[in-house]
Amino acid sequence: MEMGLNQVSYQKIKDSIIITPKESMHDSYVQQFIENTLNILVRENPKIMIIDLSHIETVDSFMGRTINELVKSAKLVGVKTSAIGIRPEVAITLVELGFNLLNVKMYRTLEQALYNQNEVD
Protein backbone atom coordinates (compact mmCIF):
# COMPACT_ATOMS: atom_id res chain seq x y z
CA MET A 1 0.00 0.00 0.00
CA GLU A 2 1.55 3.26 -1.08
CA MET A 3 1.30 6.39 0.96
CA GLY A 4 0.92 9.75 -0.71
CA LEU A 5 4.16 10.84 -2.24
CA ASN A 6 5.48 7.37 -3.12
CA GLN A 7 8.04 7.84 -0.39
CA VAL A 8 6.77 5.19 1.96
CA SER A 9 4.77 2.03 1.74
CA TYR A 10 3.28 0.04 4.55
CA GLN A 11 1.94 -3.43 5.18
CA LYS A 12 0.02 -4.98 8.01
CA ILE A 13 0.95 -8.47 9.20
CA LYS A 14 -0.86 -9.72 12.29
CA ASP A 15 -0.14 -7.23 15.09
CA SER A 16 2.61 -5.48 13.20
CA ILE A 17 2.84 -2.70 10.71
CA ILE A 18 5.82 -2.76 8.39
CA ILE A 19 6.88 0.67 7.20
CA THR A 20 9.24 0.84 4.26
CA PRO A 21 10.70 4.28 3.63
CA LYS A 22 12.39 4.64 0.29
CA GLU A 23 15.76 6.34 0.10
CA SER A 24 15.03 9.63 -1.51
CA MET A 25 13.07 11.31 1.26
CA HIS A 26 13.65 15.02 1.17
CA ASP A 27 13.60 17.07 4.34
CA SER A 28 10.29 18.71 3.59
CA TYR A 29 8.59 15.37 3.22
CA VAL A 30 9.89 14.06 6.49
CA GLN A 31 7.37 15.81 8.71
CA GLN A 32 4.66 14.55 6.39
CA PHE A 33 6.11 11.07 6.65
CA ILE A 34 6.00 11.13 10.45
CA GLU A 35 2.49 12.51 10.44
CA ASN A 36 1.25 9.97 7.90
CA THR A 37 2.88 7.11 9.76
CA LEU A 38 1.37 8.13 13.08
CA ASN A 39 -2.05 8.37 11.47
CA ILE A 40 -1.64 4.85 10.18
CA LEU A 41 -0.57 3.61 13.60
CA VAL A 42 -3.58 5.15 15.27
CA ARG A 43 -5.90 3.78 12.63
CA GLU A 44 -4.52 0.24 12.48
CA ASN A 45 -3.47 -0.09 16.14
CA PRO A 46 -0.59 -2.52 15.78
CA LYS A 47 1.46 -3.59 18.76
CA ILE A 48 4.68 -3.12 16.86
CA MET A 49 5.94 -0.93 14.07
CA ILE A 50 8.70 -2.54 12.04
CA ILE A 51 10.73 -0.05 10.05
CA ASP A 52 12.38 -1.63 7.03
CA LEU A 53 15.68 0.16 6.60
CA SER A 54 16.97 -1.96 3.74
CA HIS A 55 16.41 0.78 1.14
CA ILE A 56 18.22 3.42 3.15
CA GLU A 57 21.75 3.81 1.81
CA THR A 58 22.86 6.91 3.65
CA VAL A 59 21.84 8.74 6.78
CA ASP A 60 22.67 12.06 8.29
CA SER A 61 21.92 13.51 11.69
CA PHE A 62 18.59 14.83 10.45
CA MET A 63 17.50 11.34 9.49
CA GLY A 64 18.78 10.06 12.83
CA ARG A 65 16.73 12.62 14.73
CA THR A 66 13.73 11.84 12.55
CA ILE A 67 13.88 8.15 13.38
CA ASN A 68 14.19 8.99 17.08
CA GLU A 69 11.22 11.34 16.82
CA LEU A 70 9.13 8.72 15.05
CA VAL A 71 10.01 6.03 17.60
CA LYS A 72 9.13 8.28 20.54
CA SER A 73 5.88 9.43 18.96
CA ALA A 74 4.95 5.83 18.19
CA LYS A 75 5.63 4.90 21.81
CA LEU A 76 3.23 7.64 22.91
CA VAL A 77 0.46 6.03 20.88
CA GLY A 78 1.30 2.67 22.37
CA VAL A 79 3.34 1.19 19.56
CA LYS A 80 6.80 -0.31 20.09
CA THR A 81 9.37 -0.15 17.33
CA SER A 82 11.67 -2.67 15.70
CA ALA A 83 13.84 -2.16 12.66
CA ILE A 84 15.11 -4.55 10.04
CA GLY A 85 17.73 -4.64 7.32
CA ILE A 86 19.98 -1.82 8.36
CA ARG A 87 23.01 -1.62 6.09
CA PRO A 88 26.52 -1.76 7.61
CA GLU A 89 27.48 1.69 6.27
CA VAL A 90 24.35 3.16 7.81
CA ALA A 91 25.00 1.46 11.17
CA ILE A 92 28.55 2.82 11.20
CA THR A 93 27.37 6.33 10.36
CA LEU A 94 24.63 6.30 12.99
CA VAL A 95 27.10 5.36 15.73
CA GLU A 96 29.52 8.03 14.52
CA LEU A 97 26.72 10.57 14.70
CA GLY A 98 25.88 9.42 18.20
CA PHE A 99 22.60 7.64 17.57
CA ASN A 100 22.25 4.38 19.49
CA LEU A 101 18.61 3.67 18.78
CA LEU A 102 18.48 1.92 22.13
CA ASN A 103 14.71 1.98 22.15
CA VAL A 104 14.54 0.10 18.85
CA LYS A 105 15.04 -3.63 18.65
CA MET A 106 17.18 -4.32 15.59
CA TYR A 107 16.89 -7.43 13.42
CA ARG A 108 18.36 -8.52 10.14
CA THR A 109 15.25 -10.08 8.63
CA LEU A 110 11.51 -9.59 8.78
CA GLU A 111 11.15 -13.18 9.89
CA GLN A 112 13.24 -12.50 13.01
CA ALA A 113 11.33 -9.33 13.79
CA LEU A 114 7.96 -11.05 13.54
CA TYR A 115 9.14 -14.10 15.45
CA ASN A 116 10.52 -12.05 18.33
CA GLN A 117 7.54 -9.75 18.66
CA ASN A 118 7.01 -10.35 22.35
CA GLU A 119 10.60 -9.52 23.19
CA VAL A 120 10.38 -5.90 22.22
CA ASP A 121 10.28 -3.92 25.40
Binding site: I86, P88, A91, I92, V95, N100, M106, R108
Partner: protein, 130 residues
Protein backbone atom coordinates in the same frame (compact mmCIF):
# COMPACT_ATOMS: atom_id res chain seq x y z
CA UNK B 1 47.65 -3.90 4.88
CA UNK B 2 44.48 -5.94 4.87
CA UNK B 3 46.28 -9.30 5.04
CA UNK B 4 48.18 -8.59 8.22
CA UNK B 5 45.10 -7.11 9.76
CA UNK B 6 43.12 -10.24 9.00
CA UNK B 7 45.83 -12.23 10.71
CA UNK B 8 45.86 -10.00 13.76
CA UNK B 9 42.11 -9.92 14.12
CA UNK B 10 40.61 -13.22 13.08
CA UNK B 11 36.86 -13.45 12.76
CA UNK B 12 35.72 -17.00 13.25
CA UNK B 13 32.31 -18.64 13.19
CA UNK B 14 32.57 -20.78 16.33
CA UNK B 15 28.99 -21.95 16.22
CA UNK B 16 26.13 -21.46 13.87
CA UNK B 17 25.24 -17.78 14.06
CA UNK B 18 28.00 -17.10 16.61
CA UNK B 19 31.03 -15.07 15.59
CA UNK B 20 34.20 -14.86 17.62
CA UNK B 21 36.38 -11.83 17.03
CA UNK B 22 39.80 -11.88 18.68
CA UNK B 23 41.44 -8.51 18.88
CA UNK B 24 45.18 -8.62 19.24
CA UNK B 25 47.45 -5.67 19.75
CA UNK B 26 46.78 -1.98 19.69
CA UNK B 27 43.36 -0.83 18.63
CA UNK B 28 43.69 2.54 16.93
CA UNK B 29 41.20 4.52 14.87
CA UNK B 30 42.33 3.07 11.56
CA UNK B 31 42.34 -0.55 12.70
CA UNK B 32 38.98 -0.08 14.36
CA UNK B 33 37.53 1.20 11.11
CA UNK B 34 38.94 -1.73 9.11
CA UNK B 35 37.86 -4.23 11.72
CA UNK B 36 34.35 -2.81 11.92
CA UNK B 37 33.86 -2.98 8.16
CA UNK B 38 35.15 -6.56 7.97
CA UNK B 39 33.13 -7.59 10.98
CA UNK B 40 29.85 -6.14 9.73
CA UNK B 41 30.25 -7.83 6.36
CA UNK B 42 30.96 -11.16 8.04
CA UNK B 43 28.11 -10.62 10.43
CA UNK B 44 25.65 -10.25 7.58
CA UNK B 45 27.10 -13.13 5.59
CA UNK B 46 27.13 -15.54 8.55
CA UNK B 47 23.77 -14.27 9.79
CA UNK B 48 25.32 -13.81 13.20
CA UNK B 49 22.99 -13.64 16.16
CA UNK B 50 25.76 -13.35 18.73
CA UNK B 51 29.20 -11.74 18.46
CA UNK B 52 31.85 -12.55 21.03
CA UNK B 53 34.56 -9.90 21.23
CA UNK B 54 37.66 -11.40 22.77
CA UNK B 55 39.91 -8.77 24.24
CA UNK B 56 42.55 -11.07 25.69
CA UNK B 57 45.11 -9.80 23.20
CA UNK B 58 44.45 -6.19 24.04
CA UNK B 59 47.23 -5.31 26.39
CA UNK B 60 46.52 -1.63 26.75
CA UNK B 61 43.16 -0.40 27.90
CA UNK B 62 42.89 3.36 28.07
CA UNK B 63 40.02 5.72 27.36
CA UNK B 64 40.82 5.82 23.65
CA UNK B 65 40.90 2.05 23.22
CA UNK B 66 37.78 1.82 25.37
CA UNK B 67 36.07 4.32 23.08
CA UNK B 68 36.94 2.21 20.03
CA UNK B 69 35.64 -0.92 21.70
CA UNK B 70 32.44 0.82 22.79
CA UNK B 71 31.80 2.18 19.31
CA UNK B 72 32.38 -1.24 17.81
CA UNK B 73 29.92 -2.76 20.26
CA UNK B 74 27.30 -0.12 19.48
CA UNK B 75 27.69 -0.67 15.74
CA UNK B 76 27.34 -4.43 16.07
CA UNK B 77 24.24 -4.01 18.22
CA UNK B 78 22.68 -1.77 15.59
CA UNK B 79 23.03 -4.59 13.10
CA UNK B 80 21.07 -6.88 15.39
CA UNK B 81 23.32 -9.40 17.16
CA UNK B 82 23.89 -9.58 20.88
CA UNK B 83 27.41 -8.78 21.96
CA UNK B 84 29.44 -10.59 24.58
CA UNK B 85 32.94 -9.72 25.70
CA UNK B 86 35.51 -12.25 26.84
CA UNK B 87 39.12 -12.05 27.89
CA UNK B 88 38.89 -9.16 30.29
CA UNK B 89 41.98 -9.59 32.42
CA UNK B 90 42.12 -8.48 36.07
CA UNK B 91 44.41 -5.54 35.39
CA UNK B 92 42.29 -4.42 32.47
CA UNK B 93 39.16 -4.76 34.62
CA UNK B 94 40.72 -2.55 37.27
CA UNK B 95 41.75 0.05 34.72
CA UNK B 96 38.28 0.11 33.25
CA UNK B 97 36.66 0.66 36.61
CA UNK B 98 39.06 3.43 37.54
CA UNK B 99 38.43 5.12 34.18
CA UNK B 100 34.70 4.73 34.58
CA UNK B 101 34.44 2.69 31.40
CA UNK B 102 31.29 0.67 30.97
CA UNK B 103 30.79 -1.62 28.00
CA UNK B 104 27.16 -2.29 28.81
CA UNK B 105 27.32 -5.93 27.75
CA UNK B 106 27.92 -9.24 29.49
CA UNK B 107 31.61 -9.73 30.01
CA UNK B 108 33.55 -12.84 30.94
CA UNK B 109 37.15 -13.71 31.60
CA UNK B 110 36.93 -17.21 30.15
CA UNK B 111 36.01 -17.75 26.54
CA UNK B 112 34.11 -20.90 27.38
CA UNK B 113 31.88 -18.97 29.76
CA UNK B 114 31.21 -16.50 26.98
CA UNK B 115 30.34 -19.46 24.73
CA UNK B 116 27.97 -20.83 27.36
CA UNK B 117 26.27 -17.47 27.51
CA UNK B 118 26.03 -17.36 23.73
CA UNK B 119 24.34 -20.77 23.84
CA UNK B 120 21.92 -19.45 26.43
CA UNK B 121 21.04 -16.54 24.22
CA UNK B 122 20.35 -18.91 21.33
CA UNK B 123 18.27 -21.14 23.57
CA UNK B 124 20.73 -24.00 23.32
CA UNK B 125 22.00 -26.36 25.96
CA UNK B 126 25.03 -28.62 25.99
CA UNK B 127 24.16 -32.05 27.39
CA UNK B 128 26.14 -35.21 27.83
CA UNK B 129 25.43 -37.87 25.26
CA UNK B 130 26.31 -40.68 27.61
Amino acid sequence: MSNSDEIRTPIVEVWRNVLLVSIVGVLDTNRTKILTERLLDQLVEQEALVVILDLDGVSVMDTLVAKHVINTIKTIKLMGPEVIISGIRPDVAQTMVSLGVNFDVETFNLLRRAMEHAMNILGLKVVSSK
